[in-house]
């Protein structure tokens, strides 16, 4: 069993860490979450019926991250996007960001980080991790049709966010 686990699960460590990092923010918390998810994965591995081991692991990481957010940052789970809070935050950070880096990826990172958790999640899974709709549906536990529509909304939000950042820079 340990060998099989090692072969099937450990190769997805980067994916696991990347997702946790995007969902909770800090590197230390992401490490703790991956470690806890890994222990859960070990426990549940007997119930893994083969198939997509990456989606299987990411689902555990995702649920562990959500538990963490629910406990430590419950405000993030409020799905409504609070324009006032976010634009305020970004405006102050923006002055510094201007000095530090103008790189496009930095701009996208900020925009993504400003998105509500569920939008950020679906975009990270699709665009950064490259998961299919079916895999996203497995990881997040929502139906395929819902994956499509939340991805669509998330894209719109990201674009609005990028646009808003641009306007402030002008």
């Amino acid at each position: 069993m340990p060998e099989r686990f090692e072969q099937l699960v450990l190769p997805h460590l980067d994916a696991a860490y990347n997702l946790a990092r995007w969902l909770v923010g800090s590197p230390t918390d992401a490490q703790d979450i991956v470690q806890e998810a890994f222990l859960r994965a070990l426990r549940f591995f007997g119930g893994f019926r083969g198939g997509d081991s990456r989606a299987w692991l990411l689902k555990i990481v995702r649920n562990t991250s959500y538990s963490w957010v629910r406990k430590n940052r419950p405000a993030q789970l409020a799905d409504e996007f609070d324009e006032t809070i976010h634009s305020g935050e970004t405006a102050t950070e923006n002055a510094e960001a201007k000095l530090l880096s103008r790189a496009e990826s930095e701009r996208v990172r900020k925009a993504l980080e400003a998105l509500p958790l569920s939008f950020r999640e679906v975009l990270v899974l699709r665009e950064i991790e490259g998961l299919s709709y079916k895999e996203i549906s497995e990881v997040t536990g929502v139906a395929m049709g819902t994956v499509m529509s939340s991805l669509s909304r998330a894209r719109q939000k990201l674009r609005d966010q990028l646009g808003a950042a641009e306007e402030r820079e002008i």
Binding site: Y17, A30, F44
Partner: protein
């Protein structure tokens, strides 16, 4: 200016989720529609930025070595020690047999399902993963399980009897998915585990206490039930009784 192509179709194209024919259709459309083709291009640009290596957080190396240490060790290491006794000479055969027997006797008994259930109960309280669906309405909780399990657990609210339903979640026991209903009794939390029984028979209630938690087990209507709580056994049995009128 208006374009009739559905936005979702365009996105599914962008995500490579369309079949061959649909893909060709959309490509033909893109060739003639500026709105859609610039839409696709603008998203491709954002995607390229998102896929920049700086946005992918690779796991630190120390994390992998930390995790490797958590992997259980294989059973092979124990064998040489064991063989050592087998190799002991003829005169020692009896002693070996005695030792082997005591070795077997000393091994901890395999955990019973009830012990697993208590562990699962404790974890649900600790890990902040008590409920996947929070609702006091049985008509919300029951459909929530649809498609997540290969059976439909009986979901009932007993608020009028003092056992309000608080929600449900999925859990794993002995390598299978089980339904868990969460009930409240005053300040106590009751986890009720439900999975299909081997047959349609019924059984009487059994009560066990493991690590200070009470477990009431019964079988009814083709389902196995295990109610776990720090609640006293009498009240836990009352809840069980509600399930078998």
């Amino acid at each position: 200016m208006d374009c009739t192509l559905h936005r979702h179709l365009l996105e599914a194209y962008l995500d490579g989720e369309l079949g061959f024919e649909r893909t060709l259709e959309v490509e033909a459309h893109l060739a003639s529609c500026h709105i859609c083709s610039s839409e696709v291009q603008s998203w491709k640009d954002i995607r390229a930025e998102m896929q920049a290596p700086e946005l992918y957080n690779r796991a630190p190396e120390e994390l992998e070595s930390k995790l490797r240490k958590l992997l259980p060790q294989g059973r092979t290491e124990r064998t040489p020690w064991f063989q050592h006794w087998i190799w002991a000479g003829g005169g020692a055969a009896f002693a070996t047999a005695v030792l082997l027997m005591s070795f077997v006797a000393m091994r901890p008994a395999p955990p019973s399902p009830e012990q697993d259930i208590v562990t699962s109960h404790v974890r649900s309280l600790m890990a902040d993963h008590l409920m996947d669906v929070v609702s006091t309405d049985q008509h919300t909780v029951k459909p929530w399980f649809d498609g997540k399990l290969d059976f439909a657990p009986p979901v009932q609210d007993f608020a009028t009897d003092g056992y309000p339903l608080a929600g449900g979640r999925l859990d794993y026991l002995e390598n299978r998915k089980v339904a868990v209903l969460i009930y409240h009794r005053a300040l106590h939390i009751i986890n009720l585990y439900i999975w299909p029984a081997q047959d349609n028979g019924s059984s009487t209630m059994r009560v066990q206490t493991i690590h200070g938690y009470n477990v009431v087990s019964w079988k009814k209507g083709g389902f196995e039930f295990r109610a776990v709580s720090d609640l006293n056994t009498a009240e836990l049995r009352d809840l069980a009784q509600l399930f078998m009128p």
